[in-house]
Amino acid sequence: MASYRTKALAVATAAALAATLAACGGGSSNANSNTKGGGTLTYYVRSAYEHTDPQRSYLGVEMTNFSRTVYRGLVAFPISSDPTVATTPVPDLATTTGTSTNNAKTWSYTIKNGVKWQDGKAITCEDFKYGASRVFATDVITGGPNYILTYLDIPTDAKTGLPAYDGPYKKDGQALFDKAITCSGNTITYHFKKPWPDFPEAIAALHMMDPYRADKDQGDKSNYQIFSDGPYELQGGTWSKETGGTFVRNPNYSASTDSPNVRKALPNEIIFKVGQTSEQITDQLVADAGPNKGAVTQQSIPSSKFSQVLGPVASRTVSVTSPYVDYLVLNFNRLKNLKVRQAIAMSTDDTAWVAAGGGPKAYKPATDIVSPLVKGYQANLFPGGSGNPAQAKTLLQSAGVKMPYPLTYTYPSTPTADAQARVLQSAWQAAGFKVTLQGVANSDVYYTNIQQPNQAADLIWAGWGADWPSAITVTAPLFDSRPNLTSKSNGQDYGAYKSDPFNALVDKAQNSSSLTDQTTFLQQADQLLAKDVAYIPLDIPIFYMIHGSEVLNYTNNAASNGYPDLGPIDVASSVK
C-alpha cells in the first residue's frame, strides 16, 4: 500500500508504506556535464528506513537510492528525463535484458564476467538463486515484495495457500526450488507458473531477485547490513536505523562492468542523515549554508514553506509528478446503493481538496486511480473538478434514502489532511450528507484499521503507486476480491468491493502474454470500477524538492521514482 504521507513524527513502516515505481516526468535543474567527481553529498531523510536488506526493502526511495549505489541487479533503469526510456530496463549485472521463452513463463539471463562483491569475490549464479530463495523464508525475511511466491513454479500447500518451499533456512522443499530456478554456468533460468511479460521491469524496480551471499546471511541480524556490489560501500557495514550511514568508494567495483547510463558514481562520499522533519530539512536547504550547499533530500517541500521558496531559491527546486495517486475508497459493506455512491462522487470537491493540500505546487487533480505515467491510464474516467452539489442532491433524493444521509470519512490525520477533510466535508454536506470526520493520528494503526472487515467508515482515504509501470500492479491488487477478502481482513480491497466481471477481466489480463492485450483488459476493468463507483480519484502528489546550490546534475526522473537520482549526481568544488 503506497502511502508517502505520514505525520511528521510518525514512523513510516514498510508495512504501511509502499514501494513504487512508475514513470514520472523527469525534472532537473542546473544540469551541466562538466563533471569531475569527488566531494561529499548529504542526503536528508525524514523517516527511518525499516530495512536495507535487498530482499526486505520495499520503499520506492530506498530501492532507487540503493540501486544507484550499493545493490546491482540483473537489469536496471537508465538515467533519462524521458519517462519511457527511464522505465525501459537495460542490462546491469546480466549481459542482456533477458530472453523469454514458453509464452513469457521462462526467463534466462547470463551474468557478466568480472563482476565482484565488495570483498573481491565474483558474483555467481548461485548468489542470485540464494537471493531469490530468501523471499520464501516468510517467517524471517518479512516486509519485502513477495510476487515470486505466487509466480515461481513451485506447488502451493492447499491448506495454507503458501508455497511448498520455505526458504534457505529450514530448507523444506529445497528440491522444488532447485527445479524452479536453475543455474548452468553463468546462466540463470527462472521458471514461472504463469506468464510474466514484464519480468525485467519488475526486477529493475524491485530488489527481490538481487544476488545475496549465503555466507553473509544471518537472517534478522542482516537487516541493516549492506554487502555491496555497487560503486559504493557502507562505512562500517551496518546501517543505523535512526541516524543513517555513510557510503564511501568500493575498491572492488569496476566501472567497466557498469554503464554510465546507470551509475556515474561521482561524489566520493554520500552521507545519509535520517530523522529531521520536512520543515527543518527545507529550512536548512533554503538557508544553504556549509555542507547543506551539497545536500539533497527525498522530502517534498511542505506547503507551509512555499512562500519561503521564491526568487533565487526557487531556481534550486525541481518539481515532478510523483508516481502515486491518492483516492477515496467507498465501503461496499455500507454504501450498497449505487445512486448514493454516485451522489458522493458528484459532490466531491476535488478543486478545494487540492487547494487545501497546498495548491498546484503540491498536487495535481486526478481523474483515474492509474497514474498518467503508467500503462493503462485513461484521462477522462472521472470528471474531477469542483463537483456539483445541487445535482448530487437531486440524485440523492431520487435514491429514496433518508436525508441528511450520514457518512463517516476516515483518513490518516496530519494538519494538511485535516484541512482537506474539512473541505470535502463541507462540499458533501451541501449535497445533503451529514459527514463525520475520523482522523487517525497514527498512520500504522490507520492501515490496520481500514483493513478490518467490519470497518465503520463509509469513505476511506488511501494512496497507491504502481510497483512497476503497469496497471496490473494497481487495479488488480486493490480491487480483486479473491486474494484480498478473508474473514479477518479486507487486505488492500479496503472497501470490500466484490465483482465477478471485474475479477474475470483481471484473470484475462494476468493470463495474456502480450502487454497490449493486458493493458486493454485492465482498462476495461478500470471502467467497470468507475461505473460501480468503487473509488474516487483525488490527486497526484507533486514531488517538489529543493537542493543545495553546489549540487550538480540534479534530476528527479522516472528511473528514480521521482526522487533525486543518485546515478548522475555531482557536487561542485567548494563542498569537496
Binding site: 518479512t142 513477495n146 530448507k171 534478522d220 537487516n223 536548512q284 538557508a287
Partner: protein
C-alpha cells in the same frame, strides 16, 4: 537505615513485576495484531499467522508473560521457532539476562536497544538538570531578595511564561530561529563524547537542554523564592541578623540550607523522570533517546520495546525515590529514617 533500603528495594521489585503483568494485559486487550505490523505489505492471513508464530505472539498472554519473566532471569535465544534455530544456527541471536525481549520492529533485543539509548537521554537530562538548578536557584534567590520590586516580578513572570509555552513550541522555535534562521548555533544532532569530544557533546546538547531547562526552571524559582522568604523571617535568622552577621552569609549559610530539602526532593524526581527520556524534546530535536524510542515503539506496536521502557522508567523513579529519602536524612538531621 540499611534494613529500610532493603525493604524499599524489595517493594520496588514487586511493583515492577506487577507493572509488567499489567502492561502485558493491557496490550493484549487491544484489538491490534502485532504480526500484521511486522509482516508488511500485501500480507495474506496465512503469512500473518506465520509471522505471529515466529515472533511468539500466537501464545496466550500469560504464557508470553511467563516466557518474558524467565528471559529476564535466564536470558533467551531468538528466533523463537526451535526448528529454525536448529536448521539455521547462523540466525540465532542470544539475548543474555536480563533479557527484556526482542523487538520485532527494530530487529534487536530490547536490552541492547535500551543500552544504546540511555546515554543520550542521560546526557540530555544531566545538562538540562544542571542548567535549571543553577538558573532556578539563583533567580529564585534574587527574586526573594528583591521581593515586591520590578526585578522580582520580572523574574517570576518570565520564568512562568517559559513554563507556560509547551516544550514542543519552545524546541521548534529554538531550532527555527537561533539555529536555522540566525545561524547562531548548529542544528543539534547528538554526538557522544567518544565521537565529538566534550565540546562537541556539550554544544549539541545546548538547545534541547535549554528547552527542558526553561520549562522546569519556573518550579525551582518559585520554591527557592518561597523558602528564602520564609526562612528569612524565622527566628534564628532574626537572631543572626541581630548578631550582625553579613546578609550574604545569612543567605548562603542558613536560608539556602532550609530551601535545599524541598529542592532535592523535587529535583531528584524530575531528574529521574527525565532520565527515562524527554518524549517531546527528543522528538523535536531528533535525539534518539529513550523518549523518542517510546513514541516510535508505541506507534509501531512494538510491545517488547514498550514493555522494556515501562519497566526501565519505573525503575528509575523507584530508585530516585529511595535516593531522595536517603539524601533527606543527610541534609536535614531532624529527619529520621524509620
Amino acid at each position: 537505615m540499611f534494613a529500610y533500603v532493603v525493604r524499599r528495594c524489595f517493594t520496588g521489585v514487586i511493583m515492577l513485576v506487577v507493572m509488567s503483568f499489567v502492561t502485558y494485559f493491557l496490550f493484549f486487550a487491544s484489538p491490534l495484531d502485532p504480526g500484521k505490523f511486522a509482516c508488511g505489505k500485501s500480507c495474506p492471513p496465512a503469512l500473518i499467522k506465520q509471522t505471529d508464530k515466529a515472533l511468539g505472539f500466537d501464545k496466550p498472554w500469560p504464557v508470553q508473560w511467563k516466557d518474558f519473566a524467565v528471559g529476564v532471569v535466564k536470558g533467551r535465544d531468538y528466533p523463537e521457532d526451535p526448528a529454525l534455530r536448529k536448521s539455521a544456527p547462523q540466525l540465532i541471536s542470544h539475548c543474555s539476562a536480563p533479557c527484556l525481549g526482542y523487538s520485532q520492529v527494530n530487529l534487536i533485543n530490547v536490552t541492547s536497544e535500551l543500552k544504546d539509548k540511555i546515554p543520550i537521554s542521560a546526557s540530555l537530562a544531566l545538562v538540562a538538570f544542571l542548567m535549571w538548578i543553577a538558573g532556578g536557584i539563583s533567580l529564585g534567590a534574587i527574586a526573594a531578595l528583591t521581593k515586591g520590586s520590578i526585578v522580582d516580578r520580572g523574574v517570576v513572570g518570565i520564568s512562568l511564561v517559559f513554563y507556560a509555552l509547551p516544550t514542543f513550541w519552545m524546541g521548534l522555535f529554538l531550532i527555527e530561529f537561533p539555529a536555522i534562521k540566525w545561524g547562531l548555533v548548529a542544528v543539534p544532532s547528538y554526538t557522544s563524547i567518544a565521537d565529538g569530544g566534550v565540546w562537541g557533546w556539550l554544544s549539541n546538547l545546548f538547545l534541547p537542554a535549554l528547552t527542558l531547562a526553561l520549562f522546569y526552571m519556573a518550579g525551582y524559582v518559585r520554591i527557592t523564592r518561597a523558602f528564602v522568604l520564609e526562612s528569612m523571617s524565622e527566628d534564628y535568622l532574626r537572631t543572626a541578623k541581630a548578631k550582625g552577621l553579613a546578609p550574604r552569609k545569612i543567605l548562603v549559610k542558613h536560608t539556602m540550607r532550609a530551601a535545599l530539602t524541598p529542592i532535592v526532593t523535587l529535583a531528584g524526581l524530575d531528574f529521574a523522570g527525565l532520565l527515562g527520556g524527554a518524549i517531546i524534546t527528543e522528538q523535536v530535536f531528533n535525539f534518539n533517546g529513550l523518549g523518542k524510542l517510546a513514541v516510535d515503539s508505541i506507534q509501531t506496536f512494538d510491545l517488547p520495546t514498550t514493555l522494556g521502557l515501562v519497566l526501565l522508567l519505573a525503575a528509575f523513579v523507584i530508585v530516585a525515590n529511595i535516593i531522595v529519602d536517603i539524601l533527606y536524612a543527610v541534609i536535614d538531621p531532624r529527619v529520621r529514617v524509620g
